[in-house]
């Protein structure tokens, strides 16, 4: 699942530029199914494995492409399915044109033979022909890493701020991320047709409202009842399940793009090529982080937030309205999550579980940077983002997430307070 998030970031800077060949549909009999023909430059690709599963991840069937490259999988019931081409089973030298498009979610209508196109490319292109190191690729992946890091950092900052003042790890933070993305989608490509910029602002406002509602409607009453932290964590788990399934029900199981910025030409900036939307994402994320830093350091509200995070009782006794600060932090956290979701939605697509998939990376970033600190998670996220992306030079993309996990575990073993955290206790 993690792969989806990390992997999709690659898509804007795909270096394999060989155009793929359109594929004809395979003959179909009655009933519905999915099918296609795997070809590279008119040459059929056989022996490649294709897996079909439900959006929940339950396998339905698998097949292998035949000598003419054709494959098909009949389906008992119509509905949404995930069709995946197992890249490892492609012949040597053949790869997916876009490594993130190896897994496609499709809606199959009753009686329809849905044609699936996997765009293939010749690996022995200009980029990987020379063995070993490629500076252009390193730079390009680093930019991807920074972008992933900024997006994760915005989300992780929200999680960490909420933790800082409430001492609660919000396992539903991923659903706050998804909420922002879906809200903006509704106003951009759904019920309304605003430009994404405007729709994004509406999405952030709605995110703020959600943060407000969660604190006032759920968490404040629970704190009043002196519910234990353990119980509150279970509540956030329940909330996460509930919201995610609700999104699946209302938004649907398929990923949807925003109307704007779907396709862009890369621009050359000396050693690196980058799409304007990548640059935009990095800039917007960075500005948001700087704004929050300014809020924390230079405003009364920010000072109050830091005071409450430092010592709630001391803050309360020196006249700070702790409940109000917690409410504001929930709003701020939800807005940051929502913004992260929108930026992620621009990079990939909007999906009902995009936030949940990102949650483990957010956790890793927060732990590496320092749980409860404001800037640690940003640092952790940038570090993780770059490491995750650059690691793909030497390691299979499948193992990207292993580095995030390794960082998390090593950090807990050797410096559990994180890079910027203060040591709390020794057990």
């Amino acid at each position: 699942m993690l792969l989806g998030v990390a992997g999709s970031v690659l898509c804007a800077s795909t270096l394999w530029t060989v155009p793929a060949t359109p594929q004809e549909p395979a003959p179909s009999d009655s009933g519905q199914g999915v099918s296609g023909v795997l070809r590279l430059d008119e040459e059929p690709v056989d022996g490649a494995r294709i897996e079909v599963e439900t959006p929940e991840g339950n396998p339905v069937d698998t097949t292998t492409s035949a000598g003419d490259g054709a494959w098909s999988v009949p389906l008992v019931t119509p509905g949404a399915y995930v069709v995946r081409l197992d890249e490892a089973t492609l012949p040597d030298g053949v790869v997916l044109a876009d490594s993130t498009k190896g897994s496609l979610t499709v809606e199959v209508r009753p009686g329809q033979d849905r044609v699936i196109i996997f765009q293939l490319a010749d690996e022995s292109g200009p980029t990987t022909s020379e063995e070993g190191f490629d500076w252009r690729r390193l730079v390009s992946l680093s930019v991807d890493g920074v972008r992933l890091g900024i997006v994760l950092g915005v989300m992780a900052m929200g999680l960490s701020l909420i933790f800082g003042v409430t001492r609660l790890i919000n396992f539903a933070h991923g659903e706050l991320v998804t909420f922002g993305a879906i809200a903006a989608w509704v106003f951009n490509a759904g019920a309304f047709r605003f430009p994404l910029f405007l729709a994004g602002i509406v999405g952030l406002l709605l995110s703020a409202a959600l943060g407000w509602g969660l604190e006032r409607g759920l968490f404040r009453p629970l704190r009043r009842r002196r519910t234990s932290t353990v119980a509150l964590i279970v509540v956030t788990i329940g909330l996460s399940e509930f919201l995610r399934s609700f999104y699946q029900l209302t938004f649907g199981p398929l990923p949807e793009p925003y109307r704007d910025y779907a396709l862009q030409r890369e621009i050359d900036l000396g050693p690196l090529t980058v799409t304007p939307k990548s640059l935009g994402i990095i800039c917007i994320g960075a500005v948001a982080i700087v704004l929050v830093a300014f809020l924390l350091q230079r405003t009364r509200l920010g000072t109050a937030m830091r005071a409450v995070a430092d010592n709630k009782d001391l803050a309360a006794s020196s006249g700070i309205d702790v409940q109000r600060v917690i409410l504001h932090v929930w709003i701020l956290g939800a807005v940051l999550a929502g913004l992260g979701g929108i930026l992620l939605g621009v990079t990939q697509k909007v999906e009902f579980d995009m936030g949940f998939k990102a949650l483990l990376l957010i956790f890793a970033a927060v732990v590496v940077g320092g749980l409860g600190t404001a800037y640690g998670p940003v640092l952790g996220a940038l570090l993780l983002g770059v490491v995750i992306q650059v690691s793909t030079i030497w390691f299979d993309t499948e193992f990207k997430f292993v580095f995030a996990l390794l960082a998390l575990i090593l950090m807990l073993v050797f410096r559990p307070q994180g890079i910027l955290g203060r040591r709390e206790r020794v057990g």
Binding site: D310, L314, R422
Partner: protein, 286 residues
Amino acid sequence: MSTDVLAAVAAEPGVPKPNPILVVDDVRRTFGGLVAVDVRHLEVERGTITSLIGPNGAGKTTLFNCLTGFDRPQAGYWAFDGHRLEGRFAYQIPRYGLVRTFQLTKALDRLTVMENMLLASRGNRGERLLGALLRPSWRHTEDAARQRAERLLETFELTRMGHDLAGTLSGGQRKLLEMARALMTEPAAILLDEPMAGVNPRLRQTLCEHIEGLRDGGLTVFLIEHDMDVVMGISDWVVCMAEGNVISEGPPAVVRADPAVVDAYLGSHDGLAPVDERESHEDETS
């Protein structure tokens, strides 16, 4: 009684004592740039009640935390009853006969009072996973622990509550339970962190008598306390800390009159009155 032993000891910080049970050297704990504890040398005389006083943020609780393994100082060493304890984990400390209580009482609420007591017993064979199901293998140690627990509950007038959940006790009773429970570990010395905090004045007298009773029974008591009446009333020796350092020690009356002590309290706008103290980092360790 023990005051006689200390009569000949000079009232100055770091002074050696005739028969110290706890000797602390160069213990230093900093948080970021802030020095919380910086104790050059401190000895606690065996079989006495020694009080540790000082304004808010003086580092008293942090010192206790360091000594009992709940916090780790950057430097320093200390010995209890001849055993060096630095680097030991918190759970290892009681084995050497040193036990502590906490400022905010830590009664185990959903265990009964008796279970609270039994849990603290030493060498209970049934506490090992292998063998926990073989009742005969641990019945003896359990019975011995139960007898000891019953005696202690009687001393602390908690016998009636034996089968109640600890969470139903009053604040004062919880303090008593915590003290009785600590004694189940058969300690040679007990560190009490603000035993009077949150206890009503009527019960304070009873608590003081219990503490004096512990000393008269041969135990060493080292306690942090803010209530000066209590400190003056029961202490054989008083140590005052400010900004992490020991600035004064001596018999109660001497320390009370020490200008350095008065300055420390005045400088901290804290006065010598009981204050509901919470050191800034205390909260984070919970």
